[in-house]
């Protein structure tokens, strides 16, 4: 378990939602491992539990049962504040809907995670945010507001925000779900480049064409892994 080469290890990860009187088993015991430097795509039809799994992996939600080791650390027994710290320090999350703060410039959006960085790992927030934006190719759009940017550019700002804390892993939940194919290619190209630079990436997508950018595909159905 302490093998740091494995960034993600899950043991019988289970999630049950209580919807009124009905119990919905969204995840039925997921065992998976992601090694450092991998580029993994999780695929599956809607309702297969891939987004639920992504929320567990991204520490946005807590599993009902099972163990989750992130970067060698069991995160199941953590309290709310420690969860927040994991989200801040270890994980960079990219959402389908970009989730940028409106009326806030690209640069300020990227700086946002550093505002909550209690460890002070990143010494110069402003500089770090700038170089993250340069990395995603938006050096000339730093002072633009989200509504002045195209969808692809907005998602690249979101990627820069995810990268600015130098996380152990980059996670993306349907990152191109709101984009046209041209912009989608742009984002996947960016992911591929980042992966080649050594960043571990786990992403959820339902588009088989783009899943091919990844080097490993996990297919889910009915809350279980069907094919790895």
């Amino acid at each position: 378990m302490e093998n740091v080469e494995n960034v993600i290890v899950t043991k019988k990860l289970t999630k049950v939602y209580q919807m009124g009187a009905v119990r919905v088993h969204a995840l039925k015991g997921i065992d998976m491992t992601v090694r450092r430097g991998e580029f993994v795509a999780i695929m599956g039809a809607s309702g297969s539990g891939k987004s639920t799994l992504m929320n567990m992996l991204g520490c946005l939600d807590q599993p009902t049962a099972g163990d989750y080791f992130l970067d060698g650390k069991n995160v199941n027994s953590l309290d709310r504040n420690e969860y927040a710290e994991i989200r801040n320090q270890k994980i960079g999350f990219v959402f389908q809907g970009f989730n940028l703060l409106a009326r806030t410039t690209a640069l300020e959006n990227v700086e946002l995670p550093l505002m909550y960085d209690r460890l002070g790992r990143i010494k110069e927030p402003h500089k770090a945010a700038k170089s993250a934006l340069e990395r995603v190719g938006l050096a000339d759009r730093m002072d633009h507001l989200p509504n002045q940017l195209s969808g692809g550019q907005q998602q690249r700002v979101a990627v820069a925000r995810a990268l600015v804390t130098q996380p152990a892993i980059l996670m993306a939940d349907e990152p191109t779900g709101n984009l046209d194919s041209l912009n989608s290619i742009e984002i996947f190209g960016l992911f591929q480049t980042l992966n080649q630079e050594g960043i571990t990436i786990v992403m959820v997508t339902h588009e088989r064409d783009f899943a091919d950018y990844a080097e490993r595909i996990i297919e889910m159905r009915d809350g279980r892994i069907r094919r790895d």
Partner: protein, 406 residues
């Protein structure tokens, strides 16, 4: 530290972005704070005014009225000896050891003609000691003498208002005026005293020797009251007791009989007046305080709306690693900043209003630094108190739920 500063900056930004809404939200606090300060200032102003008047009246003043004040609930009615004569005043003057000045007061009123015009006013018959007793000073001329009282001399000393009305802009000493058709010679004019606690003009008055008013104007022998001055403030009670025993003897009252007069002193009267105004201050302040609380509820309302409106923003912040406490501080500081801004504007408004009241109305206002500080501190606490619930509501959101919120 830097993090707190950043959170404050975020709060400030949100306030500035919603300028109109922020102003309207603060308005409740602005009105509340300024109302508290102005109300208390008006109350304390009137207290200060009363205190000033106590000083101008002379604190050693004892006032004796004819009539019964208290007799076990049974009024004795107007008895045979229920009135004062000049003789009562004279007896106090002769026998009392703890009293230095004594003056009978005979009240009359009527039309005064002089300087080609006329004026309706009060005429008080007094002894020369009265002016010392009540701190009256002369602007022109001189006071009348004991000799003038003895011979019922028809001389008058005018209050400042009368002098201004009848003889504007000149020294009227030596002029003749007619009070209810009796000619009087003006021998002096008093310096201005202004209005008293009840708002009456103290300078709208004429003084003449007590005997003159009694016999020449009223044609009777009863006087209205007696003013006396104790030799010192700490001898007040002893002096009152002395006057009481002298009057009881003069009125031939037996051991068990009730007093047929009432003795009171100026301090008691002003104490009552100032305690009334203190109660008023408290009441006004409390009513204004309620408006401050209403203002706080306004802030809570807006903050709740703001939390709902910004649920997604909260979700984003949580998802990138903000702690619940970070969200709490952000929203709480927004509420506190809003109410403190309201507090500052409220204080400025109160200074303005009280300045206007002071300069353009008869109301006196006194603003003490303590009350300004208290109002400001209270507005801050209102922000904390009413901002806490919405802020906690925001902080307790689950990141996933907050992000899904549309």
């Amino acid at each position: 530290m830097n993090r707190i500063f950043n959170l404050l900056k975020v709060a400030m930004k949100s306030i500035v972005k919603n300028r109109m809404r922020s102003l309207l939200t603060s308005l409740g606090i602005i009105i509340g704070v300024s109302a508290v300060i102005v109300m208390v200032a008006v109350g304390q102003g009137s207290q200060a005014k009363i205190a000033e008047q106590v000083a101008s009246l002379g604190t050693n003043l004892i006032v004796v009225f004819p009539g019964i004040s208290k007799s076990g609930g049974v009024s004795q009615g107007a008895g045979s000896f229920n009135r004062f004569t000049l003789n009562d005043a004279k007896k106090i003057k002769e026998q009392a050891t703890l009293v230095k000045d004594v003056s009978p007061i005979v009240r009359s009123g009527g039309q005064v003609i002089g300087g080609g015009t006329n004026w309706s006013t009060t005429i008080n018959g007094v002894s020369p000691e009265y002016f010392d007793l009540r701190n009256w000073e002369l602007e022109y001329g001189e006071f009348f003498t004991d000799r003038d009282v003895e011979v019922c001399k028809k001389v008058a000393i005018l209050g400042n208002t009368i002098a201004d009305e009848l003889f504007p802009g000149q020294d009227p000493t030596g002029e003749t005026i007619r009070i209810r058709n009796t000619p009087f010679t003006v021998i002096g004019v008093l310096k201005e005293k202004g209005k008293n606690a009840m708002g009456n003009d103290q300078d709208d008055i004429i003084f003449a020797p007590s005997t003159t008013v009694l016999y020449r104007l009223k044609g009777r022998q009863f006087i209205d009251m007696i003013n006396a001055g104790a030799i010192s403030t700490d001898k007040m009670e002893a002096a009152q007791a002395e006057i009481r025993s002298i009057l009881r003897e003069a009125h031939k009252l037996d051991e068990g009989d009730d007093d047929d007069f009432t003795i009171t002193n100026q301090t008691e009267i002003t104490d009552m007046a100032s305690s009334t105004s203190r109660t008023m201050t408290l009441l006004l302040g409390a009513v204004a305080g309620v408006s401050l609380i209403v203002g706080g509820i306004g802030i809570m309302n807006i903050m709740l709306v703001s939390v709902t409106e910004r649920t997604r923003e909260i979700g984003i912040r949580l998802s990138i690693g903000a702690r619940a406490s970070d969200i709490l501080v952000q929203f709480l500081s927004e509420a506190v900043v809003l109410s403190l801004i309201g507090g500052i504007i409220g204080i400025l408004l109160a200074l303005l209003v009280s300045g206007i009241l002071n300069n353009f109305t008869d109301l006196r206002t006194v603003i003490k630094p303590l009350i300004v500080f208290l109002a400001f501190a209270f507005s801050g606490s209102v922000g904390v108190f009413f901002g806490f619930y919405p802020a906690r509501k925001a902080a307790n959101l689950n990141p996933i739920d907050a992000l899904r919120y549309e």
